[in-house]
């Protein structure tokens, strides 16, 4: 059944066939080993918690080796059986422009992947493939992780040839426009100069550190050590004559004093955090520059390690201007160029973010990235007031009744009274959320505004849409309202509680733009 060897001689021959001519093929039998390892891994992952009892029972097993051997053989047989079946049912078919994979023993899967959708090709060689030089060919699309196609166990020359074919196909397709660009460029000076778009000074970074507490990142990393750390801190404080548990014991102090202590302690910790945060900001963003070279954005920054990240402008999905309440007071905002999110979780260093720019600088940058956008002048439509009522009645009201009442009944009238503070804060959040929500659209772009106390603005081209969702509950239908969700490769944005005709028009225009313009989204 192994057609690989024949294929090595003329690897591309199958790729000229049409789908109807192409034949289903099996991979090399060495794949059985691959599947066996996969099944074993699955078992190990599922039953990892059984290992400690096994170790405990080890003595018993030693006394009764027959049973243990029986179980082990059974397990081995099961794995072998599963691997054989998986191998038997794994088939692929190559034809001009597409790879198809049929797999699955009980649950069948049939995957169709056009070559021009492949973003990334990886060759993987587990150790047991090495002697016979087999590889596992992994084809990634721009969809998300774990959705890739895997052709397990192809001979290396065949896999390489296939990879080359797919890459060539992509280049021949995408190279057309760049080559004309290059020709034009050759008549001009050969080296295209970088154009400086933005630059951050140390003062900007200090402002960024104050308004964006990056400390939460550190705190998250330190989470496993909290207990030890807390013990150490308490010990130290006790040595200095401060007994924290006693200070916060309601039996010894009144609630008011405890509140005061808590407040001052929080302030102190916040101050420390802010200092750390400024330090973190300077470390990451020192010497920040954003350049534009041809159609690429290049970000350089870092005090100790210089990071250089570049992004093709066509990969940009959405521009986000994020301004939290502190940023608003300082008149600054963070500008994010959001790219594809699905394929791999892009680390913070890989993102292109311009920290703490002024409004004017931000609008200049947005104008460069999204030509003809009207973000700075557009008037946003408000969403319906029903948004407030929904969240107040559905979530807030039950809690607002139950929480103080139950505290009161438990003889905690002070706590019941205090609970009004977080409750009113929550209600304020809901109202602010409604107030901040806004949407607008012009011929080419969508604009969305949202936030609580701070504001985030999003601006993205209509043709970047991946999928749209229209949502409407029975009550919303009666009020002529709807919610829409616009899915981009960088994430989804929802606009809740808007006029039904507006919502439908938003979706319809977006779909029309993307289908009619036929522009690539990346």
């Amino acid at each position: 059944m192994n057609n690989n060897n024949e294929a090595v001689a003329a690897p591309v021959s199958e790729l000229k066939q049409t789908v109807s001519q192409a034949e289903w093929q099996r991979v090399s039998p060495i794949a059985i080993l691959y599947f066996a390892v996969a099944v074993l891994r699955f078992f190990a992952g599922q039953f990892v918690y059984l290992i400690p009892p096994f170790i405990l029972l080890f003595n018993r097993i030693k006394d009764n080796p027959g049973l243990a051997i029986g179980m082990l053989t059974g397990l081995l047989l099961l794995i072998t059986g599963a691997a054989l079946l998986k191998y038997y049912y794994f088939q692929y078919r190559l034809s001009a422009g597409t790879v198809e994979i049929r797999s699955g023993v009980l649950s069948k899967k049939y995957l169709n992947l056009p070559f021009n959708r492949i973003q990334n090709i990886k060759l993987e060689q587990p150790i047991f493939y090495r002697p016979a030089d087999y590889v596992c060919l992994q084809l990634d699309t721009a969809g998300s992780v774990h959705q890739e196609a895997r052709l397990v166990a192809l001979s290396r020359p065949f896999a390489e040839a296939l990879k080359q074919h797919i890459l060539d196909l992509r280049h021949s397709v995408t190279d057309e426009s760049p080559s004309t660009e290059q020709q034009q460029a050759s008549s001009e000076p050969p080296v295209v100069a970088e154009q400086l778009l933005n630059q951050r000074s140390l003062a900007d970074l200090v402002i960024h550190g104050i308004s964006n507490n990056r400390i939460w990142l550190f705190l998250g990393l330190a989470a496993p050590f909290y207990n030890q750390l807390a013990d150490k801190v308490l010990e130290l404080l006790l040595m200095a004559g401060i007994d924290l548990p006693a200070l916060f014991d309601p039996g010894q102090q009144s609630w008011f004093v405890i509140g005061l202590y808590a407040l001052s302690l929080t302030m102190l910790i916040m101050l420390l955090f802010t200092l750390f945060s400024v330090l973190g900001s300077v470390l990451t963003f020192y010497g920040y520059t954003l350049h534009k070279k041809q159609q690429n954005y290049i970000r350089r920054s870092g005090l100790l390690t210089r990071h250089e990240v570049s992004m093709k402008l066509s990969r940009l999905q959405c521009v986000a201007l994020k301004q939290d309440w502190l940023d608003m007071l300082l008149g600054r905002l963070n500008l994010n160029f959001e790219q594809i999110n699905g394929q791999q979780q892009i680390a913070t260093e890989q993102k292109i973010m311009v920290p703490s720019v002024t409004l004017k600088q931000a609008h200049n940058l947005v104008r460069d990235a999204c030509p003809d956008n009207k973000l700075s002048s557009v008037t946003f439509n408000h969403i319906s007031r029903r948004f407030i009522w929904r969240y107040l009645l559905l979530y807030w009201l039950p809690v607002a009744i139950v929480a103080p009442l139950s505290l009161w009944l438990r003889q905690q009238p002070e706590l019941a009274l205090i609970s009004v503070v977080p409750l009113s804060f929550w209600a304020l959040l809901i109202v602010m959320r409604w107030y901040r929500y806004g949407y607008a659209a012009d011929n080419n772009y969508y604009y969305i505004r949202r936030g609580y106390f701070g504001v985030d603005y999003y601006c993205f081209a209509k043709y970047k849409l991946q999928q749209v969702t229209f949502r409407q509950s029975w009550l919303m239908r009666r009020a002529g309202l709807c919610s829409v969700k616009l899915v981009l490769a960088s994430g989804a944005l929802e606009i809740p509680f808007i006029n039904e005709t507006d919502g439908r028009a938003l979706l319809e225009q977006g779909l029309y733009q993307l289908q009619q313009s036929r522009k690539a989204w990346m």
Partner: protein, 184 residues
């Protein structure tokens, strides 16, 4: 494929496009509804059997606490089963899909209606999935993957196998689906 023969992809003016709300949506296969009812009935019958066994078995004295739970379960489980069956029946009745020249829509929900529209141009790859029971009933689930991420995988469940294959063919033969990446 019959779809392929009559396939056209002429450009349409906005006024000509059927708006999403006016789409003639198609219901899922009736076998899907029956299958879901069967699975539901099977699951709750199995659960009931287990509880009855616990209730009647003479070999092992059931603790008093557990006995109380069992007596309640004896009427709660069938009630849940019937409610779920009713819910599934209604929910499945409200699942529809519709095809336009350039996109596929799937709507669902009883009180909270939802319609997802997936433009064909943005489809990255296609999967046709069949569990063992679905295979028996020759049903299939069609998954269309876009770059929107795993959370936004477009899925139409309960299509008859031929229908699913036809839609897959429609997507694969869609001119835009192949042209998209070629234009920069």
């Amino acid at each position: 494929m019959s779809n392929a023969a009559g396939f056209s992809n002429n450009q349409l003016a906005v006024e000509q496009i059927t708006p999403l709300q006016a789409l003639q949506s198609e219901a899922l296969s009736s076998r899907y509804r029956l299958l879901r009812q069967g699975v539901n009935a099977g699951f709750f019958a199995g659960l009931m059997l287990l509880i009855m066994l616990l209730w009647w078995q003479p070999w092992w004295p059931v603790p008093a606490d557990l006995m109380q739970v069992i007596t309640h379960a004896l009427w709660l489980v069938p009630l849940f089963g019937v409610l779920r069956a009713f819910y599934c029946w209604q929910a499945d009745k409200n699942k529809h899909f519709a095809l336009r020249e350039h996109d596929i829509s799937y709507s669902s929900g009883i009180f909270f209606r939802k319609m997802i529209t997936q433009p064909v141009v943005r489809i990255q790859h296609i999967e046709l999935k069949q569990g063992p029971l679905e295979r028996k009933a020759s049903l299939a689930r069609l998954q269309l993957f876009s770059a929107g991420g795993a959370l936004h995988t477009f899925e139409i469940p309960g299509l008859s196998l031929t229908q699913a294959q036809q839609i897959r063919q429609f997507v694969l033969q869609h001119k835009d689906a192949l042209q998209d990446e070629q234009q920069q």
